[in-house]
Symmetry: C2
């Protein structure tokens, strides 16, 4: 079985974006805001949005199950206040849940959280519990920078985040650390802010004792761990100079996905990072949609890179494709169709 731990609903029907536009246009008008609702989306519209995209690519690439969450760049936690964030988040999560209920053997749901800059993460607990306990979600996305490129909230290792971590640990739900869009003109979203967010989060974790306080908490750092594997020697050396535990110890709680869009990158990742800390993912349909003229295949067809790795044995490939994901996403086997 091949599990892709990182997919977003980037192809949702236009009613979703249209609702968000109306919502953000009426942020100052509380009465109007609260009266807004999304125009209905039919099951057929959902099917159409997926059949020619994620479902076709799953079939073509031989991917069995995608852990599916709302579109990351559209989470936009920096837009409006916590109430607007919650309204938007519920709509996005409910839509993802419908997708996963329509195609339970293709998708398992991962939720967005109703974060808002300057608002305590404890405020997300209600929606997290609703998604996990009532709807069967198996994971969540956690934005380390709800301010959208201004990095105004405390680091992930600050006690500010602890109430949320307590519930994640209680529910046995991992968080993928994933920023959203950037409203800072310095940071291109998918080309800089995403990768920086990954690198930044890793270094926050490296310099803290968070996992002493939460020994079972699990974080997935997407996009191949940002810059970290490429600079593995730097991080090993920094940990050593700072008298921190070896980075390998951190990798008991931290996992990198394989969203690295060329073979040499995936090769490096799997050569330096412990094998039980790597989860297969492609983020399709996502940031990079083209075909690489050097290979004739999509850049984000990451299965080809993992399949091509000569230094992996069959057991290791199975860990990356399935075993590690099942271990990290402890609730996956409660999702109806996953045994």
């Amino acid at each position: 079985m091949i599990i892709d731990c990182h997919g977003h609903y980037t192809t949702a029907p236009p009613q979703l974006t249209e609702f968000r536009e109306r919502q953000t246009a009426s942020l100052g008008d509380m009465a109007r805001r609260r009266s807004l609702s999304m125009a209905p989306i039919s099951d057929d519209e959902i099917r159409e949005s997926l059949e020619g995209a994620q479902l076709r690519l799953q079939r073509e690439r031989g991917i069995d199950l995608t852990l599916f969450s709302p579109r990351a760049v559209a989470m936009g936690h920096h837009l409006g206040d916590a109430e607007a964030s919650l309204a938007w988040t519920r709509i996005c999560n409910d839509l993802v849940h419908r997708v996963c209920t329509l195609y339970p053997s293709n998708f398992a749901p991962v939720c967005q959280l109703p974060q808002s800059p300057g608002v305590a993460p404890a405020n997300c607990i209600g929606e997290l519990r609703r998604c996990v306990e009532e709807l069967g979600f198996v994971g969540c996305n956690l934005n380390p920078d709800p301010s959208g490129g201004w990095w105004k909230d405390p680091p992930l290792t600050d006690r500010w985040w602890y109430p949320l971590y307590e519930v994640l640990a209680e529910l046995d739900v991992p968080a993928m650390i994933h920023v959203s869009g950037s409203c800072n003109p310095n940071f291109h979203a998918t080309g800089a802010h995403y990768i920086n967010g990954d690198t930044t989060a890793f270094m926050q974790l490296l310099t803290s004792d968070l996992f002493r306080d939460f020994p079972t908490l699990k974080f997935v750092i997407p996009h191949g761990g940002g810059a970290v594997p490429y600079h593995w020697g730097r991080y090993r050396g920094l940990a050593q100079d700072m008298k921190r535990p070896p980075v390998e110890q951190l990798m008991k709680n931290v996992f990198f996905d394989t969203c690295v869009y060329h073979l040499p990158g995936v090769e490096l990742l799997t050569k330096v990072v412990p094998m039980d800390s790597i989860l297969f993912a492609s983020e399709m349909v996502g940031a990079v949609r083209g075909i690489d003229p050097c290979t004739g295949h999509h850049y984000d067809d990451t299965r080809r890179y993992v399949d091509a790795l000569a230094h992996l044995g069959e057991a290791e490939r199975r860990m990356i494709y399935e075993g590690n994901a099942r271990r990290v996403y402890g609730r996956l086997d409660r999702w109806p169709t996953v045994e």
Copy 2:
């Protein structure tokens, strides 16, 4: 000849830091600030600061010449105003110049710029000209985030920076894009802010036509180009999706150094990035000072990694060690002892 294009004076005598501490403690008292001067540093003190450190390591590692600039993390452009930045910058540059004059065959000078958040980069032209035209500096360090982790100034591709670029082009001086310290608690300086700065700058350049306006301008992105080579497929794909020129074209004006502290990283860098865009560097004595227990050698002894690359021919190794640096740093052959 082996040229290390990236070294900072991290071992300067304590008078330098002591001056800076007095300066930052008196930022609000203009009269006192202007009366401050650094306690004298003797030539012997400079020699002592280098003999057991950079000079010993140069000998041990067989590095002939280091392009030497003030300590990057201490540039601290976010501290105080433009006048304080200029006073501090002049002292740092003058000290680096003394180092290079004492050891002209070991070091060639690269200057810090008196940047200040919110102040037009044109304000740096006077100090740049002084360093290059009067003192023989061969390059400069350019901070893409003078606000120190808050990223408040315009992107490097904004016209805000153009007057400075005009002078860089006129003087044929490359800029190494190098952030300084971070006062944003989210960003560890050497573990996150440095690498993020590199990645961010690359993506700014990828999405702009800066080098159409300045065809001869050259930027060195340090720390192996941040996350870029590891995500080379992502950047190639993003450029393609955005109908930008191929990233290989950008690499006519952009260069990555080899400050990547393990063999697999340097291997990746030299396999994906065009060979004439890679400059040897170690950044010693810098961010990572320990010995890798897996190899028994310093993490930052990057020459070992380049020497170990089986896929490089002798001609390619010469480009990385010397030829590319001479091409990028056009003024290097005017430095007294470099032929």
